[in-house]
Symmetry: C2
Subunit: 558 residues, 2 copies
């Protein structure tokens, strides 16, 4: 095989990822701490310098050359224009280059594609710190989260997708002599099975997780032989451009047409996502983002017989029934509500409690007491000068602040008011602390929709049963990416598991440590619903990869 | 496990099927000869008696009870009304029963579902001969084909789907203790992964292969925990009813709600397929049948976010370039054109030759000579009194004869005229011999569409290259389920393989024995395009089963 050097280098990595996918145990190819001991003592300073050097200039890290000028309009949620421009190409240009690039790419062996893609990741990993700053200043994430979400965690998701796609392609014999007994004779046919990719994939990214949410589709597409056009959100191009640029350079070095993966750019004023969705070259679409545009993408894709894999948004719920340790429980919830100001598709929004309150070691703690304690727990995080700013980050765009204002004016009881938060060193940052409201099922019109950002609702119900039914219905009708239940009652736990998983949401029970419901671990947690209105895709299951290619048989008479 | 007796009985069968799926070698769980030595000396007589007893009476073989009267309008293509009526239920009734039945079914282990389903097949296999007569007298197939296509070949396809679905569900750990190192500490979460079916599947059948084309979807749906509603074509209900009735009785005996698989019936006047497609309970749709209605099903399903797996129709092409043995080559093509009067989605229609003719051992045989010899080969089959009637069978419906008449009047050169054929014992049978026309690329308007039935075209081109390009374009634009190329030139063979498989059609080379391009072998050939306009599904690949369920995770704090 021509890529023997890469096979030797990365086969161990691939096999470990395949094993982790199968066994679902903890696995991390790239360590998550943004530590100089791991990534090199100058890595942070180098990354920050690269970031600063990139500001107010054209991005030149791509192999791809602009054919239609430059565009760029990113604004840091920490309060300044990035001033970076990126190559712009028309959909027709991108599609033509993708088609050409796929010709040779699809003829490689799955193992060759897998190790080339792992090589692109290893090279890309050298930019984790610049990627962290790029992510921070496009999404509003805090630095550590920016590092982890676009760096090690995203790259592990990419590796997971490579491994799953590799397995899906190699589970069957590549060829066989098929011999059929026919009475006293036999007849033989030599058969081979060719892997034929569906055709160019389009990956539409979002403004909050421009790498983490896009690489599963990107790498699933590529490992199964497709070319890819990645169209990031115009507000968060930089992190995607870094990853794709690194991929293009690696591809080129190893003799692969670098246009097998391309960056598509646009502006809010002149978007091109829908033109790409409708373009006949595009056969598969990965979409992450808001549900309104998501439904348009799903419909326009489906009408043209294209496969659309979506992760939109839902409303994530918590049921607080009983706990052995209310402190740890509320610490956990408070952090989940605060982390990146609720701007995660997995963040909880509605917290259901029965009007009796929460049973703690045989005694009910009233809803008002629990609400007050939760407020204090949030205060402890967000008002802590060391912890608060980095945990909350900044609001990605002004619409999120507008949503918060709308919630404040809803007339519901305010358990915890939101207030501006100073981000040290960034006077223009748009940062606020979480708003917590209190209501009951009569105001389902308000809380049974997504309030993206730092808005949550405590909902007081008649009983655990009512809470459970409401959460089940909410998952079925509106969708959800996570559900979180606190109960020490094994029977309730079983019923909740049964109803909520069948409704289609992953469920977590009694989280009380440094694992939060917002988190989804590569190689272990199937992320995304795949099964409710929040989206039809899951990172990374078999269907996510197997839908992107076909086995096409060849029979030769012996 | 409660189904231990079935596991003991069928685990070997399941494992052998899994192995065959992986290795793609010849495998047949049920022997294909309709022989008394295999199936019992009285099996044929018993089957025929059961068939005759069923005529002109209500079908009572289902557990399912009618809630909206009886319907039935089947006519044997051999010239008589079957006079059978079947229970009719409204979509709402079917949907409600399916939802209830799925509750318990989806909670079984994949292995339990697999062995219960194998048991239903073993029981159903006892009716192979009645099924053969039922198939013959609804589809028009000859007896042997009716036996094989609805009996052993279909049941092997069902077993293949069970095995593939079982593997897709069991490739990952069911549970794991996930332990993450965090500096000097660790944090552990117990995880389980629940298999959650997408929801009730709808299988819409066709009038020519009412069992073979429906069981892959039916059994893929069931093994992955879904309930199923099967809606056969109103002209071919009997074979489906036999299979489903047998399944329902087996399910009931083993404590499974028999409505986990239901028969939906309708009439040509009052069809219910589209009502079912639109019904919110239906989440996945398998469609086999004509492209016009197929596109409506695809669109209406897609607009509602449903997964549609389709096998419609295309135009299958043959390229005749060179051969070492023209006799065997033309024998093979002649049989493919004659078998079931071209009423197979895999049957060839357009036969491309360069104007130089066909190169045979260094000498060109002219197109006219080849055409004449092909005519003789067809005559040898269809005018042979022992072989002809059974090979051709009868035309399933009058529209097929009307298509033939239209072709006859197209003005193209007639190489072989069609004439009526007597089916011994059935004076009213609608049987005709194949029509072969000759044309050139200028009449692509005529031959580049599907002529379902015994109509084929010899197309004379400038060169092999032109033939190949035309076939490639035809696959890409109109779709195809098969392609067949005869060439002794290894370089041409490679180019044809490359272009045609990438266009998305399975390709066969130089078939010259008792394997025909029409045939598709369970466990070995991925049937269906999956990759071109003829349909998006393939029997049975990973995506065909993996799309029907999700892994939904459960996390518990340790």
């Amino acid at each position: 095989m021509p890529y023997k050097v890469l096979i030797d280098r990365h086969l161990g990595t691939l096999n470990a990822a395949v094993k982790a996918n199968n066994e679902r145990h903890f696995h991390a190819h790239w360590p998550e701490p943004p530590s100089g001991k791991i990534y090199g003592e100058t890595a942070n300073a180098d990354g920050e310098a690269a970031f600063k050097a990139q500001l107010n200039s054209a991005f030149t890290g791509l192999v791809q050359k602009a054919t239609d000028g430059q565009v760029g309009e990113e604004i840091s949620p920490y309060g300044f224009d990035l001033g970076i421009t990126y190559p712009h190409d028309l959909p027709e240009t991108l599609a033509a280059r993708a088609t050409t690039a796929q010709q040779k790419w699809q003829r490689l062996e799955p193992l060759e594609r897998a190790v080339i893609l792992i090589e692109t990741l290893e090279r890309g990993a050298k930019k984790f710190f610049e990627l962290a700053y790029a992510t921070m200043h496009t999404t509003g994430q805090g630095f550590v989260m920016g590092f982890q979400s676009s760096g090690p965690h995203a790259f592990d998701r990419a590796l997971e997708a490579i491994a799953m796609g590799y397995v899906a392609q190699t589970s069957f014999a590549k060829n066989v002599r098929w011999t059929k007994p026919m009475g006293k004779m036999t007849v033989s046919i030599d058969k081979t099975y060719r892997i034929v990719p569906k055709g160019t994939n389009l990956v539409i990214g979002c403004s909050t997780f421009p790498v983490w949410n896009s690489v599963p589709g990107l790498f699933s597409a590529l490992v199964t032989g497709n070319s890819v056009i990645a169209k990031p959100h115009p507000g968060a191009v930089y992190p995607a451009a870094l990853v794709i640029g690194s991929m293009q350079h690696t591809m080129q070095e190893f003799g692969v047409d670098p246009h097998v993966v391309q960056l598509a750019t646009d502006t809010v004023e002149a978007p091109i996502a829908l033109d790409l969705v409708k373009h006949p070259t595009i056969r598969v679409i990965d979409y992450t983002g808001g549900p309104v545009f998501g439904e348009i993408v799903e419909r326009e894709g489906a009408l043209r017989g294209k496969l659309v894999m979506s992760e939109k948004a839902g409303v994530n719920c918590v049921i607080l029934d009983s706990t052995a340790d209310l402190d740890k429980t509320l610490d956990n919830i408070a952090f989940s509500l605060s982390l990146y100001s609720g701007q995660m598709c997995t963040a909880p929004q509605n917290i259901f409690m029965s009007e009796l309150g929460v049973l703690v070691e045989g005694t009910y703690v009233s809803v008002d007491d629990v609400a007050l304690q939760l407020r204090t727990k949030i205060d402890n995080i967000v008002l802590n000068e060391k912890m608060g700013p980095g945990t909350l980050g900044a609001l990605q765009n002004p619409r999120i602040l507008a949503g918060l204002r709308e919630a404040e004016e809803s007339g519901l009881d305010i358990i915890r008011p939101s207030s501006p938060l100073r981000q040290p060193g960034y006077d223009g940052a748009c940062s606020v602390t979480p708003l917590v409201l209190k209501t009951d099922p009569s105001r389902a019109d308000l809380f049974e929709r997504e309030w993206f950002g730092p808005v949550s609702f405590i909902v007081t119900t008649k009983s655990f049963e009512q809470s459970l039914t409401m959460v089940e219905n909410s998952i079925t009708r509106i969708g959800a990416l996570t559900a979180l239940v606190f109960t020490v009652d094994e029977e309730k736990m079983q019923r909740a598991e049964d109803l909520l998983t069948i409704a289609g949401a992953p469920v977590a029970f009694n989280l009380n440590s440094s694992v939060w419901v917002n988190q989804s671990a590569a190689f272990s947690d199937f992320h995304g619903a795949g099964h409710n209105p929040a989206g039809n895709a899951a990172f990374t299951d078999l269907s996510f990869v197997a839908n992107r290619f076909n086995f096409v048989g060849v029979r030769r008479q012996v």
